[in-house]
Symmetry: C2
Subunit: 362 residues, 2 copies
DNA sequence: TTGTATGCGTTATCAC
DNA sequence: GTGATAACGCATACAA
């Protein structure tokens, strides 16, 4: 197989120097019409495609922004608890097409990131890995700026990378780590949600579901406690059911309470995914939602609209988060984070059927 | 701002040569324990991040696969016909979050592409543009293989690129163009769908909606005609309503037929997006679906499950298409397409409410 | 307007 | 086990 042609090959064929070839592509107006034509013809005949690595090396920039995610998220369970089949079409032709698995929170943020990149003509490098320092550093070397989802990446690695290119961290509380931060107001969202349950639905017995494995979840639980206390109710010190969807033995507490009919009036879940799994579990056991127990989520993923009952939740402005990250990176292009930016975006309660609100008008 | 540190800086600081630094990262076992440690410390202190451009240049590969889409798809209309508001939550916080706009066909294919890349530890470069030869060539220079959605890209450009790296074209009928092809069986899908409408619902008056702007649509219309003819009915020479969602003056024929109550018994649409817009239009005019007129789509996007009535459609194995593309590219890595692969994937009719089938059990 | 020469940061091939 | 050194393909200051 012939070697990929280079500027040298094109130059030789067109009878010009390599500089002229380069000019023809980068600054066409600087080159005489006839010369340009000759170069373009030669390039076409040879099948010349400029090498971005060489260009990036010479120019000092790659022209791409990066987005790093974690494999772990891919390993998310596909089945509801207790083997309850997800509602809707089984789709044996396309096992990846499950609204419970896509689009999720990260996917919608990524969507916003993509849109903003595209509008700016920026290339986007998507990468994922275990979160090891090595794999993050790997991407970092390929891009002019990097956004990272929360995960097991050692903070040291991120700080390390942030010394060389701007880095945006999603959903991690801002600290003085040299990273830019894009977060949402989890506490306020949870306060509003609980306020709705207590104020509008007059519920007085609420339990929190979910293990506090991420800063987001921890903040949501904090907001939950604040709101419950503010309503004059007893704020629990810990979640009622500390289920982590990534682990086995899920919803043991909820299940046993359901068996004894001792469930609280509301199960406030740390995420939509948790809430949907809880809905499955309750449905399998014949516990009516919202009549016997109200269930709420957090995030606002699409699957919540497909569930029955539809899921009351708190929606994050996911696409906006992604867009904002790109804007921050572009703003700081070329320079590492001297003065890191911190952004706290608002969230909004979305009332649907699972809290007892009436179905939305069609 | 200090220059990004290089192997030279690390080598100097660690008191070794640059070769040793390189070995430390690429073949740690070839380097003495103590030396390795010294290098790693120096790298950490300096904030060293290997430059992928330089690496790619020296090594001859970028280590990334590309996926090219078109801006045009982003400019898709967000509103239903006649200003009919889409059902569901208005979401003023996050205007990009509309299930009618995401995830679409391309997004689910992309999803599959991502999953396969991730599982293989491949970086993925996403890019989009007008489809001009320049922008496609641009990406091509950055990757070891490229997949492209159908669009206005000059075929010559793709062939040009395909001479240097493997290229997969989605949803374009295979021709001898040096490209690999991943397509679905549009004709069979449409035949099955029409067979269901005619055979199971006993409909004898069917109209096709959509302009034949893409090869996919043209094949679907061809399949429609075949099936209609096979049922002993008159096969139209052209679509009943040649609406192109990308253009104004949409559904003029459907609208006027609706006004005169002369609609056929079924409107078979070229895509889900068209079908959803038709549902909006009919709802706004008070035409009951499926009682007065049956509506069907094609693709199997998520929004079809959120519509009321839920949308009967033909589902493409979108994620599988994306995964397959990556597999093809990896298989041909390093070499341009000597013997292009052609893949035709099966599709499946998904029966929902808009054709008169009963709602799926919850 | 076009050609010459140099640097960009790594990898890899040699010697040592 | 480690150190020189030559590519890799392009952009660009400078010269012509």
């Amino acid at each position: 197989m012939p070697r990929r042609p280079t500027v040298y090959d094109v130059a030789e064929r067109a009878g010009v120097s390599i500089a002229t070839v380069s000019f023809t592509f980068r600054q066409p107006e600087r080159v005489r019409e006839s010369t340009r034509a000759a170069v373009l013809v030669a390039a076409r005949e040879l099948g010349y495609v400029p090498n971005a690595s060489a260009r990036g090396l010479a120019h000092g920039r790659t022209g791409a922004l990066g987005l790093y995610s974690f494999d772990l998220m891919l390993a998310a369970p596909q089945q509801g608890a207790d083997g309850a089949a997800p509602a809707g079409d089984a789709d044996d032709l396309d096992p990846d097409a499950d609204p419970r698995a896509f689009p999720l929170y990260v996917d919608e943020v990524q969507r916003g990131y993509e849109l903003e990149c595209w509008q700016r003509g920026q290339a986007l490098l998507l990468s994922s890995g275990s979160g090891s320092g090595a794999s993050v550093t790997e991407v970092a070397g390929r891009v002019d700026g990097l956004a990272v989802f929360p995960g097991p990446t050692p903070v040291g690695t991120l700080e390390h990378v942030a010394r060389r290119i701007p880095v945006v961290a999603f959903s991690i509380p801002p600290v003085a780590d040299g990273l830019h931060h894009v977060t949402v107001d989890n506490r306020a969202g949870m306060r509003d949600l609980v306020g709705h349950l207590v104020g509008d639905h007059d519920l007085r017995d609420l339990g929190f579901v979910g293990r506090l494995t991420t800063p987001d979840y921890a903040e949501r639980f904090a907001g939950f406690r604040e709101a419950v206390a503010a309503a004059g109710l007893d704020a629990p010190a810990e979640p009622l059911d500390p289920t982590d969807l990534a682990e086995p033995h899920r919803f043991e507490v909820v299940a046993s309470l359901a068996a004894e009919d001792r469930l609280p009036r509301a199960l406030v879940c740390a995420s939509d995914q948790l809430a949907l799994a809880v809905l499955d579990l309750l449905a399998a056991r014949g516990v009516p939602v919202p009549e016997r127990v109200v269930v709420t989520g957090f995030d606002g993923i699409l699957a919540g609209r497909l569930a029955r009952p539809t899921l009351t939740t708190v929606r994050q402005p996911m696409a906006a988060m992604g867009r904002l990250a790109v804007q921050v990176l572009v703003r700081h292009a070329g320079a590492p984070a001297e003065e890191p930016e911190s952004h706290l975006l608002p969230v909004r309660v979305v009332r649907r059927e699972s809290c007892g609100c009436p179905p939305a008008l069609a």
